[in-house]
C-alpha cells in the first residue's frame, strides 16, 4: 500500500500574489480557479467538481466570514457543497487534506481545494493584531507577544542552543528572494543582498524586516481526482502519495521544545511512512518560511539535515535552486508572499508546476518527488504532503 497515490492533481491555479488593490478575496479566488479550469480543457467544472474546501484564516480583514459558499459561487460552482477550513496559516494545507478525505471516502471523484486571503488593505498594526489571533490569547497576545515575536523566541533559542547566526537567517531571505525574482507571480520579484537583509529594521529582535514573510493578497487552488480517473483529464497528473497532519499546544510556552515543531515532525513521519519515502529521496520542497528561522527549523524537522544543523545547511548552498535539494523554488512565503489562507495549496501549486516541468525560469531538472510543509500559527498545526510525478 505504501506509495500508492491517494489522489491525483489534475490541474492547479494561482492568482497573482501581491498588493491587489480594489480586489476582494472572492474575486482573487476566481482568478486562481480560472487558471485551473484553463489548464484542464477536459474538465467540465460545473459537472465534474463535486465539492470545494477552501482555507481562509481571518474574517476580520474584509468583515466577511462564510468563505466556502462565497468563493464557490464566485468560482462558478454555485450549489456544490463548500466548506471553509481554518487552521491559521495551515488553513489550505488542511483544505487539501479534507479534499483527500472526500475523494478517499468514495463520495466525490473530483474536488477543488484551495485557499485565499486578502490582507493588504489593512494597516500593519491591524494585520499584526489579526495574525496574532492564531496564537494563545490569554497568555501570549494579552502580554504583547506578537506573531513575529513567537518566531523570534524560537530564533533566540536556536541561536543560543546551536550557534545559528543572524547571517544564516538572512541567507534564507537572500535565497528565497532570488527564487521569487524568477517567479512572475511572486509578490516581491526582487533580489536582495545579505547586507540589505541584515541592516533592515528590527521587527522582533533577532528578526528583521527581511526575515519576515510578506503581507500579501492571493489565492490558490488545485483540482484533485481519484487516481483511477486522472488520465481522463490530463496526461500529466501529479500524485499525492503521503499526507500527514498533527497538532500541538496553542501556546508556544507550553511545548516540549522551542527549537523544533513537534507537530511538523509528527506530520512528516506520517507522510513519509505513508509514501514509503525517506527524507533523502525528496528532490524538491516548499517549506513554511513565514520567518527565516522557520525554514531552518523545517530543514531539521523534515530530516533534511541533523538537528541543530539547519544553519549549516543554508550556508552550504544545497537548498538553492541549483543545489542538491532546492527549497522554496517559488520564492517561498518570504518573496512570493504569504496570503495566509492561500499558502498551503500555493506550495502544492509550485510542486505541481515543477513536477510537470512548467516552472519556466525556475524549473529544476529531473525532479520526481516533492514535499510541502505547511505550518499554522507558531506550530500548533502542521501538515506535510508528498507529491510524485505521474508520468
Amino acid at each position: 500500500m505504501k506509495g500508492k497515490p491517494l489522489v491525483s492533481i489534475i490541474s492547479a491555479g494561482l492568482s497573482k500574489f501581491g498588493k491587489l488593490e480594489g480586489l476582494y478575496a472572492r474575486e482573487i479566488f476566481a482568478e486562481a480557479a480560472k487558471e485551473a479550469y484553463d489548464r484542464c480543457p477536459n474538465l467540465d467544472p460545473k459537472k465534474d467538481v463535486k465539492a470545494l474546501f477552501v482555507g481562509h484564516m481571518g474574517e476580520a480583514y474584509e468583515h466577511q466570514g462564510h468563505t466556502g459558499a462565497t468563493v464557490a459561487d464566485w468560482a462558478g460552482l454555485l450549489h456544490i457543497p463548500a466548506t471553509r477550513t481554518e487552521n491559521a496559516c495551515a488553513s489550505s494545507g488542511a483544505a487539501l487534506r479534507a479534499g483527500i478525505f472526500a475523494v478517499l471516502s468514495g463520495l466525490c471523484e473530483v474536488v477543488m481545494v484551495g485557499g485565499v486571503e486578502k490582507m493588504t488593505h489593512r494597516t500593519t498594526p491591524e494585520v499584526t493584531e489579526f495574525l496574532a489571533m492564531a496564537s494563545d490569547f490569554p497568555f501570549e497576545q494579552w502580554h504583547g507577544i506578537t506573531f513575529p515575536g513567537l518566531y523570534a523566541l524560537m530564533a533566540t533559542a536556536h541561536m543560543h542552543k546551536y550557534g545559528t547566526t543572524e547571517e544564516q537567517l538572512a541567507m534564507v531571505a537572500v535565497k528565497n528572494h532570488h527564487n521569487g525574482f524568477l517567479n512572475p507571480k511572486a509578490h516581491m520579484q526582487r533580489e536582495i543582498t545579505l547586507e540589505k537583509a541584515l541592516s533592515s529594521r528590527v521587527i522582533a529582535w533577532p528578526l528583521k524586516l527581511y526575515d519576515c514573510s510578506l503581507i500579501t493578497d492571493g489565492a490558490s487552488c488545485l483540482i484533485i481526482a481519484k487516481p483511477e480517473i486522472a488520465k481522463k483529464y490530463t496526461d500529466m497528473p501529479v500524485h499525492i502519495i503521503g499526507s500527514g497532519q498533527a497538532s500541538d499546544s496553542i501556546g508556544l510556552y507550553e511545548r516540549e521544545s522551542l527549537t523544533s515543531l513537534i507537530a511538523a515532525k509528527i506530520a512528516a513521519k506520517q507522510a513519509y511512512d505513508m509514501a514509503g519515502v525517506k527524507a533523502g529521496e525528496i528532490d524538491i520542497a516548499e517549506v513554511h518560511d513565514c520567518f527565516t528561522i522557520a525554514e531552518i527549523i523545517a530543514y531539521e524537522d523534515l530530516g533534511f539535515c541533523k538537528v541543530g544543523e539547519g544553519g549549516k545547511l543554508i550556508g552550504s548552498g544545497e537548498t538553492r535552486l541549483e543545489g542538491r535539494l532546492p527549497v522554496n523554488t517559488s520564492g517561498g512565503l518570504k518573496s512570493k508572499g504569504h496570503p495566509v489562507g492561500a499558502t498551503g495549496t500555493a506550495q502544492a501549486y509550485e510542486l505541481y508546476l515543477q513536477l510537470t516541468e512548467q516552472a519556466e525560469k525556475r524549473q529544476v531538472k529531473d525532479t520526481k518527488m516533492g514535499l510541502a510543509h505547511n505550518v499554522g500559527g507558531s506550530g500548533a498545526t502542521a501538515t506535510v504532503h508528498i507529491f510524485k510525478r505521474g508520468v
Partner: protein, 133 residues
Amino acid sequence: MSEQTSFNIEQFYKHINQGKLMGGKCKRCGEIHLPPRPLCAKCFSKDFEWVDVPQRGKLLSYTIIHVAPPQFQQMVPYAVGIIQLERGLKIPGMIRDVEHEKIRIGMKLAINFDTSAVQSQWPQWPRYYFKPC
C-alpha cells in the same frame, strides 16, 4: 459552579489580581497545570486543588518587540520572554525594569503583578510581568 471547582483561566487572573500565582494540581495524578484547566490533560480527572507556583525562574528565550498591535504600540520597543519557573512550569510574559542589552538566556527573573490597568470590558484581566531578581 462553586469557587472551589473553578479551575480555569478566569480564576487564574483573579488570583493574579490578589498578587498570587497559582496553578491547578490534579488530585489523582499530581500534574500541575499552569494555567489551570477544568480537565486534567494527563489522566482526565476533574479533581483539582490550588497550589502556589514558584514566583521565580530563569529565562528560556526572549525577543525585543519593535512592531506591535495597536494596543501595545506606545510601549515599543519592549521585551518579552518565556520563563521556566522553579518546578519546571513555563509561563510567557513581558520583561521590565532591565536594559534590553542586559537580558540573557538563563538570567533569574521574578514575577510582579500590575493590576493598575484592569479594564471595565472583557477581558477584565490584570497583567503580570517579570523583572530581574
